[in-house]
């Protein structure tokens, strides 16, 4: 059983009933970020390819998936997935109710919030292949999948970690 004394930070998953449009995801992330106490954020969902991957149309560009950005704290990342889950690490369990309230304000449909261990704590073999033997900043562990590019798909918004 995870108790407050076991760990300072908590990790939660926001699971909306529907996939979020980029605009909705942006508004929700803004609202969550404004509340403070965020240590790590990952958006997860099915891939939105930039070109047709298979079949007779292979290689044709998919214009609908271009130029989608997520902006947080003066950093912009290209959105490459349909937002289906938002994983958060918060500095305290007390922040969860604020996140829930933000979701209720910004999401026009139901959602669930689950507290669980999301980001792994030790480097995996993939991390070893990707980052080498020593990982300076342990916060990057579990943030992006092995095939993602660190420079393209991950941004460090603050060296201190949240506003707390």
């Amino acid at each position: 059983m995870v108790t407050k004394s076991d760990t300072e930070s908590v990790q939660i998953e926001i699971f909306p009933q529907r996939f979020l449009k980029p605009d909705t995801a942006q508004r929700l992330l803004d609202e969550i970020f404004q509340g403070g106490g965020i240590l790590r954020i990952t958006v997860q969902g099915p891939n939105l390819p930039r070109m047709v991957p298979y079949g007779p149309g292979k290689g044709l560009p998919i214009e609908e998936h271009k130029n989608m950005l997520l902006e947080l704290a003066d950093q912009a990342l290209e959105l490459r997935v349909k937002v289906g889950r938002i994983w958060l690490e918060l500095d305290s369990e007390d922040r969860i109710e604020g996140i829930r309230a933000a979701c209720e304000r910004m999401l026009p449909f139901s959602f669930t919030i689950k507290r669980k261990q999301i980001f792994h704590t030790k480097p995996t073999v993939s991390d070893y292949a990707k980052y080498g033997g020593e990982v300076d900043d342990k916060r990057i562990l579990g943030m992006i999948d092995p095939k993602a590019k660190r420079e393209r798909d991950m941004a460090i918004l603050s060296d201190t970690g949240g506003d707390s």
Partner: protein
Amino acid sequence: MAYKPQYYPGTTSVGKNRRKHMSGDLEKLRDISDADIVTIMGHRAPGSDYPSTHPPLKEMGEPDCPIRQLVEPTPGAAAGDRIRYSQFADSMYNAPAIPYWRSYWGAINCRGCDPGTLSGRQIIEARERDIEQYTKVQMDSEMTDPALATMRGCTVHGHSLRLDEDGMMFDMLARTELADNGNVNYVKDQVGIPLDRKVNSGKPMSEAEVAKRTTIFRHDNVPFGGAIGSRKFDEGLIALHHMWERRSKWGFRPE
């Protein structure tokens, strides 16, 4: 008295819809033109001639065969058309049809077709002019809800995923879009090649309507066993249990 097929047991709305699909007694909800169907399928340009793989059967001089005399060829086979396909993905969120029922419908009602059933998509192959006709029946009738069922020749991912905010099934290739007037438009053909013009495939059904027309048993709509709390399972589930029991007990008989 003439034999009347029962097709599927049970008194639930899902059982009734399954019977409708299998019998081909489908309600026509919209009328998509032949040219639009051909455009979405993407095998030939609308209005162009049908390419052929062999001369018309009448010119070929077929061998003297009692089966060939007995079975009338479909228009596509008689003309020597190519084999072409249409494939649909249906959302698990109460889409009207599901792969098995598209296949039952095809196998029972469509001559000269080859239905292929997969977990999240269903393909029917047939001679080109035949498959165009079969596809039109599917898209015009209650088998298809434009938001929850899309013609997808490849990259079909979407059946088991959550819906988009606007109620559309997720599509990695963005083949369809919900227009401001409430219609669902195809902007790409079934393999993701952009179309010159948008093709209107009709208005999506309401949530209540798809719940009424679906052939999917779901615990949050119509469960397989019938009404929750009833003293007896629906006949559909009893018949399934019966078949499983017989198959398990006597299905394997090496002698």
